[in-house]
Symmetry: C2
Subunit: 144 residues, 2 copies
């Protein structure tokens, strides 16, 4: 079986993939972000995922602080996104935008909840304050 770590990869994207790069992980988060799912049975039903896999993924999220559990007497436990977990929304948006553009248009639009307007994920330059085409995004060793 393939491990889920990327030893030797000193890279924040690789570190992120160690937590959310396994099969189903990002789709579980998607349902938490955009469908408001919080219960095991909600995720199980919407994803058609095997319960043992779902249990493992939720345990990984809890262990790494992407979700936390809320329990109330007489109710099923709920898995709630933390701020750290919610910040991964940007990854789902990128994947969705790409699929919409390059595979087939999907069934949803991302909107700004406050005004109902369509949204777009972009890269901006803090120096020239303009939108940067992806082909013009490069990397540089970080100054420490």
């Amino acid at each position: 079986m393939l491990g889920r770590n990327y030893p030797g990869q000193i890279c924040s994207a690789a570190s992120a993939l160690e937590l959310v790069g396994e099969r189903w992980s990002l789709l579980i988060l998607r349902d938490a972000f955009f469908r408001g799912h919080t219960r095991f049975s909600d995720f199980e039903r919407s994803l058609g995922i095997a319960p043992n896999i779902l249990t493992k993924r939720l345990e990984t999220f809890l262990a790494n602080g992407l979700m936390e559990v809320r329990t109330e007497p007489g109710a099923p436990r709920e898995y709630l996104l933390t701020e750290k977990g919610r910040a991964l929304k940007a990854v789902i948006i990128s994947l969705n935008d790409w699929g919409d553009r390059w595979l087939r248009p999907g069934p949803i639009d991302y909107i700004h909840r406050n005004c109902g307007g369509l949204t777009r994920q972009v890269v901006i330059c803090e120096c020239c304050a303009t939108e940067v085409p992806l082909d013009e995004v490069g990397v540089r060793p970080r100054k420490l």
Copy 2:
């Protein structure tokens, strides 16, 4: 072995993950985007990935039009990103930003190649023309 498809998930993010959600896929693309790698041996060396896995991943990229092959007499074949493949850069940027912020600061900054300025990935609203915090990004069925 886990399959790589997500049957029943009518969603562009799920469709995207069917092509790039397998172990190592996004890190191979990262090296193509930001390190300019084009040769099998470059990817193999920088990732420490098993050759049979690398072969499979590159074949998936070729079959789905994310990369194309260039061959020149006497030189190893090169795997070049297509426009479709290059558009996935946004996914790596999202993952990297999240890891930098929530796991540990990584060794690189994303910059605007033209001016050297630092870049930032954001969501903007096309209606109010402002930056939208991720918590205010929602979904709506697309009008066809």
